[in-house]
């Protein structure tokens, strides 16, 4: 299941992009796509407050705000959603902002080629999955390290309370060996 959110002030572009994403006979196809489209960035942001999104694709030039600003706000709402810009034109300054502030994964120029764009989307989604997976693993490792260090802390406390206790050796029958 891939949740895509697409923003473009041009409804015809939104329709075409939806058709392209939903096309399952093409290769590569987007796995199990679910597409939400918005002509207004503000409405898209409202949607993102209550709906999880995997990938946000935005136009650059739009009436309410430009793509870089929109994606910067989207990033604050859902940092884990991947971000792309699909634009007919942008100046250098816009691209720089999109990369530095909005942390976009891709910048695709219009007119786009369906195959290339779908491939980009699939790649970005995979990339994002991998990142999320890496992070999950890293978290797990950290958590385990956490458990280990808590046990160590407990040992230190016990030793302070009753010195030598951590060095107590137990006999197989439950007795205590005390070495003098």
């Amino acid at each position: 299941m891939a949740d895509l959110l697409i923003v473009d002030d041009e409804p015809n572009v939104l329709n075409a992009l939806r058709r392209m994403c939903m096309n399952r006979t093409a290769t590569p196809a987007i796995p199990d796509p679910h597409v939400a489209t918005f002509a207004a960035p503000l409405e898209a942001l409202a949607y993102m407050r209550t709906n999880r999104v995997d990938l946000v694709i935005s136009d650059y030039r739009m009436p309410e705000m430009d793509g870089a600003s929109f994606l910067t706000k989207a990033k604050m709402l859902q940092p884990d959603a991947a971000r792309m810009i699909l634009s007919a034109f942008s100046d250098m300054e816009g691209i720089v902002r999109a990369i530095n502030d909005a942390g976009i994964f891709r910048f695709v120029a219009k007119p786009w080629g369906d195959t290339e764009l779908r491939a980009s989307i699939v790649q970005v989604l995979e990339h994002r999955d991998m990142m999320l997976e890496n992070r999950r693993l890293a978290d797990e490792v950290r958590q385990q390290q956490d458990i280990i260090s808590r046990q160590q802390l407990e040992l230190v406390r016990l030793e302070a309370e009753s010195p030598g206790i951590t060095r107590v050796r137990w006999t197989p029958d439950g007795g205590v060996l005390i070495e003098e």
Binding site: N15, N23, R61, K110
Partner: protein, 506 residues
Amino acid sequence: MARTEPNTMRSALVLKKVPRQSPVLDAPGAASITGKLNDFAWICALYELGQTAAAGVDPLKVQQDILKHIVSGLDAESGSIALIVEGTDDLLEIVAGTDLPPGTVGSRLPRGVGVFGHVVATGQPLLINGDAAETRLPVQINERRDRATHSAMCWPLRVQERTIGALAVNRAAGLPKYSVEDLDRGQVLTSLLALVMANHRMHVERENRILELSTLNDAMQRMNALLEDAQNQLIQSEKLASIGQIAAGVAHEINNPVGFVLSNLGALESYVGSLFALAEAADAAGARSTGEPSPEGVSPGQALRDGTDIEFLRTDIAALLAESRDGLGRVKAIVQDLKNFSRGGADESWELVDLHAALESTLNIVRNEIKYKARIETRYGALPEVECLPSRLNQVFLNLLVNAGQAIEANGRLLIETGVEGTEAWIAVEDTGCGIPKEHLNRIFEPFFTTKPVGQGTGLGLSLSYSIVRKHGGRIDVDTEVGRGTRFTVRLPLRQPRAAVPATSV
């Protein structure tokens, strides 16, 4: 054989003022002179010679011909004419001569020198009989030693109290000497000659002036052509620059539709693919179902049809086609608008034009540049067609619209208004932008005056717009307030006074 006059020295030099009533000296040969001078045909011929000057004949040749005519009329052997050089008081130039040493014609005589100098200085005619070499005059009119001058006459050429030069004729030894009578009669002749010469000179002067004027005119026309060329080049480069300013919008307007139309074709391809598959399956199922109906009463074709959402395809294909058509229409329109804008060089002709169509066409190419910052409003009045150079006017509109767009930071409004007042159409472009400070207001029409960074402004937009509007016999007014906005109003006469409107515009 020399005839000694009573009051001359041995050398027979006459340097006397000739009294009006000098006695007729009946010298042999003198009669023939008088005869010729009284010959009406001869005088007419002289006058005609003077007239030929008007026809632009080489003046030196005319003077030479006149002199020859006179020399023969006076039964002289040789003669010469000297004229005061234009722009000097008394510098004389020999302009014609018969039987003179080479190089004499065109030579100049300094002030007061020689018989000519004397005659011009005194304004009195002179008769010289005897050996001219022995005269007390500094230089002789004819110094050929081998044929010493025997008798000579020299008259000043006068026009309206002004001496313009002198004429001299000579007889060599062997011919009768000139008499005072001859001198007197010759005087009448020379006043006629002076008139002819002066007339000739005037013609020449006038012709020179006409020539001068026409070369000046030619030079001016060449300059004008150069200026016009430069202006046209400037207009072209301003066009390019302003296209640069709207490039983002134009790219947007072309790449967006091209993008979705291409993409739609991809979708359509896959739709058509599933429809074909469906049709094939239906065919196959139909063939089988005629033989043995399935036990459940549902054909495989029916099942496939349920899998492919035919209803969806039906509506989406219709939408897809309509959207694609719309997109291609937009690309076509912007390309046409760009063409409208860039066409028309120096040879563009006056046309009757619907200015609203022109405004819309120009607005189309800037709309994408502006719509993100400003709401675009139009309030068109009832405008008749206006006689204009359409692509030039489009450039004016484009400049005003781009300027208005650039003046607005965000959330602005751009209003385009039109109307008619008397015999004038007016077009106003109003923005809610930054406005123009007073200290800039009288400079904005200056070429290269810009407050914009390189790449955004050339400073040529308004100056060219101004000259284009002036060429239409119109004007541009500005109304502005810093922080509130600016309104530019272009006023154009509905009809151009000069030319009839070409039929092409109908």
